[in-house]
Structure formats: C-alpha cells, structure tokens
C-alpha cells in the first residue's frame, strides 16, 4: 500500500480544520463586528444626547441664576415713585444686596430718568443723587424690552461684570439698574460636572470667556488664550443643532463638546468632556468585543482542532489498518469504537481482511493443487475459487499407467546428467499430451506415471479419450526413443489403462498433499502397464466395451496378472490407429 511517509498533497486535517474554524469564526466575526459597529453608533448617539442634555441643563442653571437676579430686581420696580417712599426703597435695595451677592451696586431710576437711589457694597450709598439716566442704554433698553442685559465688561481688565436693567410693568415704577459681578456664575459653573472630569464654560456673543471652572482663565481675560474655546464653539455651530463635536480645549486636550444657547443673552453654554473619558465606555465596549472575538476565535480553533482530530484520528487508524492489511497482515483488525460511520467502515475493512485471508488461504491451496492438476483443472479451480472438486468421492474413472521399459537397467549404467535429461524430456512430452487431453497427471514415480480421466474434472467418454491420449503418448515417447536408444538400445515405452469405479480425492497431510485414486481399477491399470510390451497399449475389458468399435482394438489372450485370481481379458490398441 501507499507509503505513510509520502505526505498527501493536501491534508484532510487542514481542510476540515479550516472549514470548521471558518464556520464558527465567520458568524462570530460578523456578529461581533456588527455588534461593535451598532454599539459604537448607539453609544455615540447616547453620548451625544447626554452631552446635549448636560449643555441644556447647564444653560438652564445659568439661566436660573440670571432669572433669580431678574426676580430680585423686579421687587424693586413694583411701586410707583412718590416722595415718601424713599426710605422703604432704600431698605428694599439694601435687602436686595444682602440677598443677591452677585449684585455689586444698584441704581433705581424714576420715570423721569433721574437716579433716585444708589446702593453699593463698595462705594457710598446715594439718596436722591439726581443723575440723569435718560440716555443710559440700560434704561432705554429696559424700558423697551422690560429687561436689558449689557455687554460683559472686565473691570480693571480682569473681573467680568455685566449691567442688568429691569423695568416694571408700567412707566411710573421706573427702572432698576444693577451691576452684576459675573464671578458668581463661577459657583454655578463649578457645580456643573459632566461625567467624571468634564466641565462647562460660558462664552458671550463676541467669544469672551464669561465663566469657567478655572476662574483664573476668566480673570485673565486673555483673548488669545481663549481662542481654542471660540474655535470649539465655531466647530459646534458648524454641526447640525444638538450635535456634539470633538475639538480641543485650552490645554490642547481633545474634548467632546456640546452647546446650548441662553436665550435673550446670546451666551453660549458649552459643556465639554475629555474625549478619552467620553469615549472610554465605547472603547471599553470595543475592546470587550474584540477580546470576546479573540476568545471566540481561540475557542473555535480549539474546537475545530478537537473535531478535526476526532475525524482524522479514525481515518489515520483506518489508513494504518488498511496499510497493514494491504501488506498482507490479514489477521490485523482495525479497532474503532466511534459508534459512527467510521466504526462501520472499520467493520467493513475487518470483514474484508478476514475474507482476504480466507481467499489467500484458498489461493495458496489452489496453487498447491496446481502442481498435480492439469492446467485446465487448475484453471477451473482458480476461476471458481472452489476446490471442492477435489473432495473425496466414488466415481467411474479411467486410470492410465505408463513407464519406460528397461529404464532401471539404463539408469544403473548411465550418467546422472543423462538420466535427468532423459526424464525431463520424457515428462515434458507426457505432460503436454496429458494437458492436451484434459487428463490429470496424479502421480509419477521414477519413469512411471499415473494419469486420471473423469476425475477430478468429469469428461465425456473417458475411455476413448484415454486411448487417444495413450496413442499420443506412444507417438511422442517413441519419437524420443529414437534418440535415447543411442544411449541404451533396449529402452522402450508401454501403456496400460483400465476403467472402473474408484475412490478419488485428496489424500495426505497438510504439508504433503496428493490427489489420487484408490481402487481395483488402479491396480489393474498398473498391472496392464507392467505387462505391456514396448510400443504396446493394453486396455481392460470395461474400457474396451466402453470404446466399442470407435477405436481399433484387438482382443489378446487373457493374462494372469498379479493380484487377480482369474486370468484377465486384455485388449491391445492397434498401433498407429487414432480416432479423432
């Protein structure tokens, strides 16, 4: 069989491994990939919503601060001005300063635009100061819109201040103008936390920083330093509304930022969260998915290896078994207990091996039988694979005996080489004739040969066939004798044949097996051969009767033969005559 060292061009192991691995990993990859993709987008959207909500919340908080101021200021513009309300208003104004720490100073302006009261934390209070405020944009603005927000100014180039003016619901109550220290928004801003470290800050319309958790940034009022924040705002504005964007903050860190506007003031409240923190969960999820994919792939590889190994293992065992059986080790049995098709296949191979061993045994036996069977018999047995024809039975056979006359004397004086040469030519000639007539050469002893007809292979008209064969034998051997008589002139060749029932079959031990016939007819044929002259063919009565007139026979005198009580009738074949 095939040499196991010769590796196949493509291994089944690799194919199966690849297929199983791909079958497991491909869906895993697709599922994991789509999960990661959609997860990323969902997370991104959620983050967006979260930041947007935070921005709105921060805006609301700052708006609350401003609304609070507005509410406080509204108290001071509810009653119309008259001469005797001055002291009460002063108390109201002082209480407002107490309540609203962000208000640095407050002026109350009457309907005529005159400043009636001024209270301050730092400067001296003024009652009935009388300054004309009719042209003050705060007063003008408040009168037309009820509330007015001034631009953010930086006192001493540092602290952010804003003027807020509030008008009452009618002219007569006048206007309250407050200077608001925006540093107080700081506390609001400080309270806003986005995620773990995210923060909020506020830019006014021109992009100046109004509030930032790092107050020093606000106090520094450094426009170039605040440039990145303005760029960030521009980036958010470039996005569709409510969409967060990534940008850089003052320290150059990448942040995710969203923005909400405070209506009426044109302030932008921007919340930002460091990108690595904001995207942290996303990256963690991606990493998790990746890790799961890798773990899944490893598991798939292990599984594929195990499955393939399970499949390839039996195949190897089968291959090895088949190789052994092929090498002639028919007693080898493939031992597989996989309880599947492999086991069935192994059982088939085992059956095949046992059948092979039976058939080999038979072919050995046949080849052994061939030694004494006529080639056609051997061929028959070979073809059918059945040697039962050789089994013992009782059958009507024709037994033919022949031997050389005076061979014993010749062999006593001749050289061994000459003897062997003579015998080889002798047997070659006889075997040819025996084969040609479908007879079976069952035995030879020295120069004597025993040939059987109608056994083991039955044939029609064995007696006639035997006579014809004997004639051919005489012809062949007589030709040879012409040469041999030069060596020893008294050499001759005689044939005797008899017909009768005999027991035929294989006899002998396992090591030494012969096919032969046992019975009186054998004896008779042997005695007839012994009594035959050179060139003579003696036939017994049974055979002669069977032949009848189809061959020229002449009855001789009955002869007394050894082993026979009565003289035996003997017929001789008229030499030279042959029937077809």
């Amino acid at each position: 069989m095939s040499d196991p060292a010769v590796a196949p061009r493509s291994s089944l192991f690799k194919k199966y491994f690849r297929t199983i691995f791909a079958a497991v990993v491909a869906p895993l990859l697709i599922a994991g990939g789509s999960e990661a993709w959609f997860g990323y987008h969902d997370q991104r959207a959620r983050l967006n919503d979260l930041l947007d909500a935070e921005a709105r919340l921060a805006a609301v908080k700052i708006q609350d601060f401003i609304e609070g101021l507005h509410d406080q200021l509204s108290w001071t513009v509810q009653l119309p001005w008259s001469d005797n309300t001055g002291d009460r208003r002063r108390l109201d104004a002082l209480r407002l300063l107490r309540q609203a720490p962000a208000v640095e100073s407050l002026s109350l302006v009457d309907p005529a635009g005159k400043e009636r009261l001024f209270v301050s934390r730092i400067g001296l209070n003024r009652i009935e100061g009388g300054d004309d405020h009719t042209a003050n944009p705060a007063v003008v603005g408040a009168r037309s819109d009820r509330i007015w927000f001034g631009p953010v100014t930086f006192q001493d180039g540092s602290e952010p201040f804003m003027t807020v003016a509030v008008a009452g619901n009618r002219m007569a109550v006048g206007v309250a103008v407050a200077e608001v220290n925006l540093k107080f928004i700081w506390e609001v801003i400080l309270g806003i936390r986005v995620g773990r470290t995210g923060e909020a800050f506020v830019l006014d319309r021109p992009g100046r920083l109004v509030a930032h958790p790092d107050i020093s940034l606000v106090l520094r009022a450094d426009e170039t330093a605040q440039k990145p924040l303005q760029t960030l705002r521009a980036a958010i504005l470039a996005q569709p509304a409510g969409q967060a964007t990534t940008g850089q903050d003052i320290s150059g860190k990448t942040v995710l930022a969203a923005m909400a506007q405070i209506p009426g003031m044109d302030w932008s409240v921007i919340v930002k969260q460091p990108a690595d923190e904001a995207f942290g969960p996303i990256y963690a999820a991606l990493f998790r998915t990746g890790a799961l994919l890798i773990a899944g792939a490893v598991l798939a590889a292990v599984l594929a290896y195990w499955l393939t190994q399970r499949m390839i293992g039996p195949i190897r065992v089968l291959e090895d078994g088949v190789a052994r059986i092929g090498a002639g080790q028919f007693d080898h049995r493939i031992n597989l207990a996989t309880s599947d098709e492999f086991e069935r296949l192994a059982t088939r191979f085992n059956e095949m091996a046992s059948e092979l061993s039976v058939s080999q045994e038979r072919s050995e036996r046949i080849s052994r039988l061939k030694r004494f069977l006529a080639p056609q018999v051997a061929e028959l047995i070979d073809r059918t694979g059945d040697d039962r024809v050789l089994d013992g039975r009782r059958v009507e056979v024709v037994v033919v005996f022949c031997d050389l006359r005076d061979f014993t004397a010749f062999s006593a004086q001749a050289e061994p080489e000459a003897i062997i040469g003579v015998l080889r030519e002798y047997y070659d000639a006889l075997e040819r004739v025996v084969s040609a007539h479908g007879a079976t050469l069952v035995n030879f002893f020295g120069d004597g040969v025993m040939v059987l007809l109608n056994a083991p292979v039955s044939c029609s008209d064995p007696a006639l066939r035997a006579v014809n064969m004997a004639n051919d034998m005489q012809k062949s051997v007589q030709q040879l004798l012409v040469a041999w008589r030069a060596l020893y002139p008294r050499l001759g060749f005689g044939v005797g044949l008899a017909m009768g029932p005999a027991t035929v079959g294989r006899i002998g031990s396992e090591g030494r097996l012969n096919y032969t016939a046992i019975g009186n007819v054998v004896n008779l044929a042997s005695r007839l051969c012994a009594s035959a002259e050179d060139s003579e063919i003696l036939v017994d009565r049974v055979a002669a009767n069977s032949i009848g007139s189809r061959a020229p026979l002449v009855e001789l005198d009955a002869r007394a033969l050894k082993g026979f009580d009565q003289p035996v009738p003997v017929f001789a074949v008229v030499s030279g005559s042959t029937t077809p």
Partner: protein, 338 residues
C-alpha cells in the same frame, strides 16, 4: 455564619491593611529620603505671630489641600514671623530667598507683599493683601500680573469709606467721627483720601488719629471719648486687624462705638465690622501657592479679587453702648451677634 464571614473578611482586610501599611511605610521611608531634597518648600512670610494668624493659616492650608498639597507630606513650609515689627519683613523675606524656597507666600497685607517683592525677582511669590495691588505698585495688571508674583486681594481697603457710612447710620445725630490710621501702612494715604471724600459726601467732620503701636491704643480711645466723637472708624490695616481682640476690649472699656475691617473684632465684643472675607482670600492664596508648586507661572495667574465683603454687628455691644441699629443695617448684616 455571616458574623464569621464578616470576621474572616475583616481579618483579611486587616492583613491586607497591615501589608499595605508595611509596604506603604517602606515606600514612604524610601520616598521620604528621596523627598528630602525633592519636596518643595513654601516660604511663608507673616507680619505677626502664628497665634494671630491661626484662622488665616488654616484657611491657607485648606486651599493648599484643595490644590493637592499637604504640609509635611507633599510640601514643607518654612515660616518667618515679623511678630508685629513690620520693618523686619524685608530681612525675613531676604532670608527666605537665601533658603531658595520654591515659592514665597506673602500673606496678611501689602507690607508683606512689598517686602517679598523687593527681596526677589526670580522666586515666585503669592501674596494675600487688601487694597488695590496696582495702586500699591505690587503688580502692573490684575489680569496679567507679569513678573514673579501674583496673589489675592480683598476689598477691605476699598470699603473703609463704607465703614464711615455705617457708623454715621448708627450715630445719625453726630457730625464728628474719629478715624484711626496706621501711618506706616502703604495704603494709609489712599484710604485717608477716600475717607475724606466720603466725609464730605456724608457731611461729617473727620478727626484723624495716627497710630502704629499697640501701647498707644489706650490713649487713642481716651482721645475719642474726650473729643465726643460719634464713633471710631478704623481704616483697613492688618496691624489693627490682628489686634481685634485688644481693640474690642478697649472699645468696651472706653464705651466708644467702633467699626473695624475684621470680623474678629465683632466676635470679640466689638460693635461692627465691615471688610473682606479673609478666610476666602487666604484659601485662594493657598490654591494659588499649590498651582505655582505644580509649575504654573505666576505671570499666567491673574490676581484674584475676593469680592465678598461681610458686615458683622454685635447687638450686645450695641446695648452696652446704648445704641440701637437702624433696620437697614440689621437687614444688611451677614451675621448678627445677639
């Protein structure tokens, strides 16, 4: 069962804690030796004594901790105290400069800030003071201080005129008030100018009493009592502020209505105080010191103004003096001591 599990857990925790402490201990020991050279040093320059600075120091440490520094663990503090002798400040500042400290904290007034400023132009300085740092020549700009110093200023100096206003509200029938000024203070002139302007606006007469020594306090109160002034208004000055207890005692003793910048005065039995919240300003100074330790440049840190001004009034002192507060003051007070 649960108790047992708890006990086991506790033991494990204890073991872990023990291991951790042992580990941390050795780590600390190792770090301490490494830190012996590496730990930054704050040179703290104060005009008085640690006792008088007590509440301010704790506010400062609070701020420092907010910036992530704890004395003795991540930062060392070298103190230099002038014990009230302000002319010693420049020498003490120079001493800190010689020690090559990482940062100088000059807290408790313009004098301290100026002494530190004149001592070095390289070592970062964080100051804490009242008054306008620009006007006093400490920095050129609040938003961009430039140079090696930044800090925190409170509004105490600006509001000395408000003290006169409040005093006048308490004693509306009096037209004559005494003002105590420390002539050695760098802010005395500006405050006086402010006070005179306010007196003109309020229509009252001012008697200026100059005083820069504790032993003259008694004579000062006697003078106020004798001149029958409506009350004594203290200008903003750390020298007075750190001696609030003594001033409160003298005011009660001489039955003189007085107002100072420091809440300590009111808490100690004084009538009124109006001034910046020093707790905030010292805390912010601590935060700034921490930020400078972290490597930020003073020139990048704007001068912070603590805008909170607080009015404290003491009703007990008022009743002792036979004074009643008008409702406007009672309503405006941040704290009323009854």
């Amino acid at each position: 069962m649960r108790a047992m599990a708890h006990a086991v857990g506790k033991t494990i925790r204890q073991i872990r804690r023990r291991d951790f402490i042992a580990l941390a201990g050795s780590a600390t020991a190792w770090m301490a030796s490494a830190h012996a050279q590496a730990m930054p040093v704050i040179g703290y320059l104060g005009s008085e004594s640690p006792e008088r600075y007590g509440s301010r120091l704790s506010a400062f440490r609070e701020g420092l901790a907010e910036a992530g520094y704890v004395e003795g663990r991540s930062v060392a503090i070298e103190f230099r105290w002038a014990e009230g002798e302000y002319d010693k400040l420049p020498a003490l500042a120079a001493d800190l400069v010689n020690r090559q400290v990482t940062v100088i904290v000059a807290a408790g007034g313009a004098e301290v800030a100026l002494a530190a400023k004149s001592a070095t132009t390289t070592i970062p300085i964080v100051f804490e003071m009242g008054g306008n740092p620009i006007a006093l020549g400490v920095v050129n700009s609040l938003s961009r201080p430039g140079g090696n110093l930044t800090g925190v200023s409170s509004l105490s100096v600006e509001v000395s005129r408000k003290r006169l206003e409040f005093m006048q509200e308490v004693r509306p029938d009096t037209k004559k008030f005494a003002v105590a000024v420390n002539p050695t203070s760098p802010t005395s002139n500006s405050q006086l100018k402010n006070l005179h302007a306010a007196a003109d606006a309020l229509g009252v007469e001012l008697v200026v009493l100059r005083n820069h020594a504790e032993h003259e306090f008694d004579a000062m109160f006697t003078a106020v009592r004798e001149m029958r002034a409506g009350g004594l208004v203290f200008s903003s000055d750390p020298y007075f502020a750190y001696r609030s207890r003594r001033l409160a005692a003298l005011a009660a003793q001489h039955t003189v209505p007085a107002i100072t910048q420091s809440r300590d005065f009111t808490l100690a039995g004084g009538l009124m105080s109006y001034g910046g919240d020093f707790g905030q300003s010292h805390r912010h100074a601590g935060i700034y010191a921490g930020r400078v330790l972290k490597g930020e440049k003073p020139s990048d840190l704007p001068v912070q103004r603590v805008t909170k001004v607080e009015l404290f009034i003491n009703l007990k002192a008022a009743s002792n003096l036979g004074i009643s507060f008008p409702p406007s003051l009672l309503g405006s007070a941040d704290r009323v001591i009854e």
